[in-house]
């Protein structure tokens, strides 16, 4: 199953059509594009209400027999009209089970805005039910089709199909007009239910050159592609439903999808005649475009920042000291709110007044502060994990970027900065931004730069076990380093905020025991770790002849996180890490060590994940050590079965007991 989806491949090529006249006039890019083009009419591949015998008789999808509904056919046809792109959508869905009836409620969201940026019209829908060989088709009236204003210019067209039965075929079509000609919506070929046929075609405009990006195994390898008279068409068949899996950050990388970005347009000037003009077709151009939006909002201006800093102390003897103070100044005096994205919405003056801004606005403010101190600092555009572009496409597609971070040089050393997490100390960058490369935004010379984020986000557990009176007491220290520390601290803060006891942090592995004296010391800022001291007490343990206990009381993997039978996508642990445990068990007077877990080393092919367990006695102390190392955080789906077995073996090993036995006097 994993082979059928495979890994993403990307490429780009230029779509032009030399057969069409090029005598059009264009005024201003990004806002209004006037095009005078004659367009061919389109014929839909299928006709609503006309079904094949296969469609009528279909009871089950052969490759996904449990599917509740199936897209029998879907198609989109795009063509340019005066200043807009119109796409006609047509969907044909069959209901296969009672549970599949939920697909009879359809919602299509679009952005109308103040200027009808997108608009939906010509909505038609019908349902066909079959009684033996007799088909009964009912066209939906306006009482079944709704348009809801969700606010902020966003609207939702909704259709609810009446008389839905198992076996019903639902069909709907609508037109969407889109004024944004720089970035076209393109087409997503996959759905949450299996899709038997999905087709997209676009009739290109001879005055507009678009770059195209495709992704998905089937689109690259199995698509039926045609190109005639400027009409480009892609058809994919028998696509699996797309479902998310745990431990994956890159879900969108796998969707079968096609997108377009304007690269050139043709313009007519009095002096030069017809000319092609470039649009965002170099990294420099894309960089300049972004920088100009930040500049327009005042983030490259010195005055407001100097005024802001009048009462702030960000002095220091080194650039590192200054940058650190500046970072904490912004982090602690401004509130990050809203979605992390690439654009600044408010002017810098407004941000300085309200002191609430999006993470990117706070980053840009920090950039301005550092620049004002003579420190080199510029933004980097990145495609965060989950945005669908784990690897940068080698063409300046803007849509592959969705967040920014800062790159600065402090005392000759490169440092990345990010203000999207209010708890993060200086130098921490949101984990979703830990990608391999980004677009470094420098006026006139923006370029793709490799990124590297060094951190050792490990966990270390120490424990001293001894008998105190009749109680077995485990005195523990747990250290979470770097991003693990950041996460742990959030869990601690969450409990404290809700007035919940911190014992809950350890409840899972301590059933039947008592947790005492939990104390947390957050020294992330100074030492990059959060230390947690706590005691676990097995009350009246000495009352029994044997004390049986599990010595390792904390591990993130004491329960196997992988329960699914198989996987389609790779497992992503995000970064390499280790989890280490060291337990010293003082064998109490009057007791002998009867039994303990055996030594063991386990791994999977390629040693991406390695686990070792040791147990030794020295001077009346049993020393138990364990270490789990995830060396390569991305484990392919083909190794899932081995990984699952390894993690189960680790979970099982971590639960093995130590047995202390009372020495009986002869």
């Amino acid at each position: 199953m994993s082979e059928s989806l495979g890994f993403e491949k990307k490429y780009s090529f230029k779509l032009t059509d030399s057969h069409q006249p090029k005598n059009h006039f264009m005024k201003k890019i990004f806002t209004i594009i006037f095009l005078l083009t004659s367009s061919l009419g389109y014929a839909q591949t299928i006709k609503m209400g006309k079904f094949s015998d296969e469609e009528i008789n279909l009871k089950q999808v052969s490759y996904e027999p449990d599917a509740g509904a199936v897209v029998l056919w879907e198609e989109g046809e795009s063509q340019f009209f005066s200043g807009l792109l119109e796409t006609t959508y047509l969907f044909r869905v069959k209901i296969l089970t009672d549970a599949g009836k939920e697909h009879a409620d359809v919602r299509v969201r679009y952005y109308l805005g103040d200027n009808k940026t997108e608009n939906i019209s010509s909505v038609k829908a019908q349902i066909t039910n079959f009684n033996g060989n007799e088909a009964e088709t009912v066209k939906l009236g306006k009482e079944n089709i709704f348009d809801v204003d969700l606010g902020d210019g966003i609207r939702e067209m909704r259709i609810t199909f009446p008389n839905v039965q198992v076996g019903s075929i639902l069909e709907y079509t609508y037109k969407k007009a889109d004024k944004n000609l720089t970035f076209l919506d393109g087409w997503t070929f996959q759905n949450p239910i299996p899709t038997l046929g999905s087709q997209y075609q676009i009739k290109m405009n001879p005055n507009l050159d678009y770059k195209m990006i495709t992704q998905g195994y089937n689109l690259i390898n199995n698509a039926e592609i045609s190109n005639e008279y400027g009409i480009y068409k892609w058809t994919l068949r028998n696509l699996f439903s797309l479902k998310e899996e745990p431990y994956m950050k890159n879900y969108r990388d796998y969707i079968e999808r096609i997108e377009f970005q304007l690269s050139q347009y043709q313009t007519n000037t009095e002096t030069m005649g017809l000319q092609w003009k470039d649009v965002l077709n170099t990294w420099e151009m894309l960089g300049n475009e972004l920088i100009s939006t930040y500049r327009d909002k005042g983030f490259y201006r010195n005055n407001p920042i100097e005024k802001e800093l009048m009462d702030a102390d960000i002095s220091g003897s080194t650039q590192m000291e200054i940058a650190e103070k500046a970072y904490y100044y912004v982090r602690d005096n401004f509130k990050a709110e809203g979605t992390d994205f690439i654009y600044a919405n408010q002017q810098i003056n407004q941000l300085l007044k309200t002191r609430i801004g999006s993470p990117q606005e706070l980053n840009l403010l920090l950039m301005g502060i550092l620049k004002s101190q003579g420190i080199s600092c510029d933004p980097i555009l990145i495609g965060s994990k989950g945005n669908g572009r784990s690897n940068i496409v080698p063409f300046p597609f803007l849509t592959q970027f969705d967040e920014i971070l800062l790159r600065t040089e402090l005392d000759g050393k490169i440092q990345y900065l990010d203000l999207s997490d209010k708890d993060a100390p200086f130098g921490y960058v949101d984990l979703d931004k830990h990608v391999q490369a980004g677009l470094y935004l420098v006026q006139g010379s923006s370029a793709i730069v490799p990124l590297e984020f060094k951190h050792l986000s490990n966990k270390v557990y120490y424990s001293d076990v001894s008998l105190e009176g009749s109680d077995l007491v485990m005195s523990n220290t747990l250290r979470h380093y770097y991003y693990e520390g950041l996460d742990w601290n959030k869990a601690v803060n969450g409990l404290e905020k809700q007035k919940e006891p911190l014992d809950k942090l350890f409840a899972e592995n301590t059933e039947g025991m008592i947790i005492r004296e939990v104390e947390v010391d957050n020294v992330l800022k100074e030492k990059n770790y959060v230390s947690t001291n706590f005691k676990i007490v097995m009350e009246s343990a000495a009352d029994q002849d044997m004390i049986v206990f599990n010595p390792i009381k904390y591990s993130s993997f004491s329960k196997n996180p992988f329960t699914q039978e198989y996987r389609i996508f790779p497992v992503d642990f995000e970064y390499p890490f280790t989890e280490t445990s060291n337990v010293n068990i003082k064998i109490p007077e009057g007791y002998e060590l009867d039994d303990y877990p055996e030594e063991s080393v386990m791994t999977i092919e390629g040693n991406s994940v390695v686990f070792s367990y040791s147990a030794k006695t020295m001077n009346g102390v049993l020393v138990i050590g364990s270490k789990l190392s995830v060396k390569n955080p991305l484990i392919p789906a083909t190794q899932y079965a081995d990984l699952k077995y390894l993690m189960e073996s680790i979970a099982s090993k971590l639960k093995e007991p130590v047995v202390l036995k009372k020495i009986t006097n002869p």
């Binding site: 009672d98 609810t160 007035k499 699914q564």
Partner: protein, 616 residues
């Protein structure tokens, strides 16, 4: 002089220390609020809400306290909103906003396909603190059917200096109220036929997230006489409210002829009322689906049954109403019944007749216990309500009135039984083959209806992999059969697979991974558990048990746990029987403690000595 200085220093030290201690121990305050709210009811049942709030906001966390969201729809309109932000030191105005500055949005619902619920909202932003914020709002409602509960403390970490509510209404209209934990005073006066009741609370304790809801200060309000559009009623008792609801939906139960014919085809040959109910309920489940479109009077009047029949969909009101009409056609009486639905929801205030409902079900009276129908479900058997509406007070509506009653708690053994039979064969590596037959009845079968009907194959298997008493299970074959015995849902499950690392090994011992499964709290949500599990384990070799295999019997106050274990050669047989009955009066933590105690008896670990050790 020196003495005086020492005295002053000492005094300062005391002040410093006491201030510091006070800060450390006291609750953090994000905002301080004085509020004046007035509700005026006209003789046309129209209600005007006028609210004035004066905040001092001390920190960025307090900005949310001044967030304003005003609901509107066909019956509710927003007349005014004014906001002014001032610097409390200088009195200078920093920010102003009016109604036109508010954002507008639909109240988004994933379950409702269409309604007219919208809201206007204003989000306050400020970078300086403290700030003084004054907010005035005026809204109007065309009905006095429902009043929001007055809760003077709106937020955690908010200091209420003063909060006043005044309700003014025509004397003949009447007003009822229920005060809960109010600490202040109430005054009542009458002038020119208008009655005015005023509640005032001052300096209320600051609340934090650990507040128990029942400890909160609140005032429940309800009308005596009320009206909505052309429907007037009296709510002084439950019967009055039920009567109004009955009349609101009266005459909306006509069925198309073809459906009438179908009903007779399905039921004319049947004798018992239950059979007729069952057949018609199945027909509803197979042919109609739940779609929420809220366009009736205030969301309370049902869509007519002929419309539901036309589209084959409806919301809870529409589906219950058509089911009632279908039963009437078959000669069976049934009652449209209101309920506050939701899993683990608190019961309604039974001594305060008022609109406290959010859902509709159907009650079919019989000579014995009534048959209950959840008409929005296409999975539940007739007569079983499920966790969404079971065990709570509901309002049955009938012509001329109605009454409050309770839905079944399903706390008898036949509604709470689980039986499993498992065979396990251990291989030399310590992995094991497993086959389990699991039969769940009543409440325990409810989850499996969802698993079977809503999850794909892989997720169904994963449900068992995750919830299996033994970790490391990977199911290869799974079947779930949903059946019913009268109203009792039954789920018969069989699965086969492997258990990875079923045995753990130390130097001297082999330990079977815990496989019996503890008693979970949700197994006793109906206070009854009858569970029998048997295991047949092939150890693969003859092992000497360190664990005692003597029969274990635990009995206490009607609760019992029995475990029998026998070892013949390499074959270990275990049977565990659990029979528990909890009192409905137990508090949650008492329940947890009892379950913890029973689990220490019910879960046994099987340990064997390795052959070499055993021989020594």
């Amino acid at each position: 002089m020196i003495k005086t200085l020492i005295g002053v220093l000492f005094f300062c030290f005391l002040i410093y220390n006491s201030t510091y201690a006070g800060r450390k121990d006291s609750v953090e305050i994000y905002s301080e609020l004085s509020e004046n709210q007035s509700i005026s009811i006209s003789d046309k049942f129209e209600v005007t809400y006028f609210i004035e709030k004066n905040f001092i906001i001390y920190s960025v966390e307090g900005l949310d306290h001044a967030y304003t969201s005003l609901f509107y729809d066909r019956l509710n309109e927003i007349e005014n909103f004014e906001l002014e932000v001032k610097d409390p030191k200088t009195g200078k105005t920093i920010q102003k906003a009016k109604l036109r500055d508010m954002s507008d949005a639909a109240v988004y619902s994933n379950s409702t396909i269409f309604d007219d619920n919208r809201r206007k909202y204003y989000e306050l932003k400020s970078g300086v603190f403290p700030i003084e914020v004054n907010i005035k709002t005026k809204t109007k409602t065309k009905t006095n059917f429902f009043f929001p509960t007055w809760i003077p403390v709106h937020r955690f970490n908010q200091k209420i200096k003063n909060s006043v509510l005044t309700v003014t209404y025509p004397k003949g209209m009447g007003l009822r109220y229920k005060e809960v934990n109010l600490l202040g005073k109430r005054e009542e006066k009458e002038e020119s036929g208008l009655v005015s009741v005023r509640w005032e609370e001052n300096d209320l304790p600051i609340q934090e997230p650990d507040l128990e809801e029942e400890e909160d200060h609140r005032l429940l309000l309800a009308p005596v006489k009320f009206g909505m559009e052309n429907y007037a009623g009296e709510m002084k008792d439950w019967s009055g409210l039920a009567d109004w609801l009955y009349k609101l939906n009266e005459g909306r139960d006509k069925l198309p002829e073809d459906l009438q014919l179908k009903i007779h085809q399905l039921t004319d040959g049947l004798e018992s009322p239950y059979e007729k109910v069952e057949v018609l309920y199945s027909y509803l489940q197979e042919n109609f689906r739940y779609v929420s479109i809220q366009l009736g009077i205030g969301g309370w009047q049902t869509i007519s049954s002929d419309e539901v029949a036309k589209y084959a969909y409806g919301d809870c009101k529409g589906l219950s109403n058509i089911m009632r009409a279908m039963l009437t056609e078959a000669g069976i009486e049934s009652n449209y019944t209101l309920v506050y639905a939701g899993e683990e929801e608190d019961d309604i205030e039974v001594d305060f007749p008022s609109n406290q409902f959010n859902h509709v079900i159907l009650q079919v009276p019989t000579d014995e216990a009534p048959i209950w129908l959840e008409c929005t479900s296409n999975m539940l058997p007739a007569g079983y309500l499920g966790s969404f509406t079971k065990n709570r007070h509901v309002l049955v509506t009938k012509r001329g009135g109605g009454y409050l009653t309770k839905t079944p708690s399903y706390d008898h053994a036949n509604w709470n039984s689980a039986t499993s039979s498992t065979s396990i064969k251990i291989d030399p590596r310590g992995d094991a083959l497993i086959e389990t037959d699991l039969n769940l009845a009543g409440n325990f079968a409810e989850d499996l209806m969802y698993v079977k009907n809503r999850l794909d194959d892989r997720k169904q298997k994963d449900y068992f992999n995750k919830n299996s008493p033994v970790s490391g299970l990977i199911i290869s074959d799974l079947s779930i059969d949903l059946e019913k015995e009268d109203s009792v849902p039954i789920a018969k499950t069989n699965y086969k697979g492997v258990i990875q690392r079923f045995t753990q090994s130390t130097s001297k011992r082999i330990i079977l991974k815990s496989f019996m499964g503890p008693i979970q709290k949700d197994m006793l949500s109906s206070n009854r558990l009858v569970k029998t599990d048997s295991f047949d384990i092939d150890l693969g070799e003859s092992l000497s048990p360190e664990t005692s295999l003597d029969p274990f019997i635990y009995e206490e106050e009607g609760n019992s746990i029995r475990i029998e274990s026998t070892l013949e050669g390499s074959n270990l047989k275990i049977k565990r029987e659990i029979d528990l009955t909890f009192s409905a009066d137990l508090e949650e933590d008492q329940k947890s403690d009892l379950i913890k105690k029973f689990n220490s008896k019910a879960v046994k670990t099987y340990i064997f000595l390795k052959p070499t050790t055993a021989n020594n």
